[in-house]
Amino acid sequence: MTETGRYLYAIARDLDPQVLAEVPALAGGRLEVVEHRGLTAVVSSVDLEEYGEDGLRRNLENLPWLEEVARGHDAVVQATATRAPTAPLRLATICLDDDGVRERLDAWHDALEEVLDRVEGRREWSVKVFARPRPAQVAADSPPAAVSGAAYLQRKKAETQAREADEGTAVAVADEVHAALAARSVAGRRLAPQDPRLTGRADRMLHNGAYLVEADEGDAFATLVDELATAHPDVVVECHGPWPPYSFATLEQP
């Protein structure tokens, strides 16, 4: 006989469990809810061989496993968040049993209510700003003939200064874009820029922003992003959404 634990996907308020009927749970399980003090935790049973301490240690290193769990977790959070105020849990949050889930709901109760108040009727949008690669113009500008050492050094210095000015401008543009978007959102956060090896693009990510936007203002927000992108052709702006409020469900506690 294998031991099982309760995997927590999200905690919601006013959630009709029926909406989860068609949503698949991780590991071929079935989604269930644990209700306590007006909060609803969305859970399913998982095998502790796979999701216990040793299992997680092993499996979290396994990218295909991780992707499958992240996708499955996200699908449940999406299904919940489109229908009720939802605080998503971090990946692989597991309690031993339903009593453990209720203890968590007790311990987090007031903070959860605050989070749910904050995200209710709102969605998260992601806006990233990338530096546009500087076009190589040196070859066209300079004569092919040999240049003197002093002229060469001077040109190098000018190139470096121009590049630094570009960088400075791009960073300033990213700050400006963030300020404009934050002013139009309920809340804005700057996440750590992603590594170019992960984004798969050579352009440096200058800004990785998350914005909490009223659900019915999504179109206006996306339009503002378009306007900002048009106004700043020297950077590349990417916008994705709407998503569940992943970046705005942080509990204000240690």
């Binding site: 634990g5 927590l8 905690i11 502790l48 216990g52 301490e53 997680l56 240690r57 979290l60 990218l63 991780l66 992707e67 992240a70 996708r71 996200d74 998503p88 849990l89 971090r90 990946l91 949050t93 597991i94 309690c95 031993l96 453990g100 968590r104 311990a107 987090w108 989070v115 992601s126 996440l191 750590a192 992603q194 590594d195 090896r197 992960l198 984004t199 990785n208 999504g218 179109d219 996306a222 378009d226 900002l228 992108a229 048009t230 052709p233 590349v236 702006v237 990417e238 916008c239 994705h240 959404g241 709407p242 998503w243 992943y246 970046s247 469900a249 942080t250 509990l251 506690q253 240690p254």
Partner: protein, 65 residues
């Protein structure tokens, strides 16, 4: 799309890129901060493993899959 305007994805049915998802599901301070896994594993272990994990994903994802 000329490349000077924003690349905007407004289809809610579209999958979130894995990188963005992991940023949010594993990132420090992101999403509910409680480590329920504490009951199974030490807090430190979870924190450390997640950091190690992110590093390993970053390395692994550059490889063609």
């Amino acid at each position: 799309m000329t490349g000077t305007v924003a690349v905007t994805e407004r289809d809610p049915g579209r999958q979130i890129a894995l990188v963005d998802l992991l940023d949010r599901l594993l990132g420090t301070g992101v999403v509910l901060a409680g480590d329920v896994v504490i009951s199974l594993a030490g807090v430190d272990l979870v924190q450390v493993r997640l950091h190690a994990l992110i590093t390993s994903i970053r390395a692994e994802m550059v490889e063609p899959r």
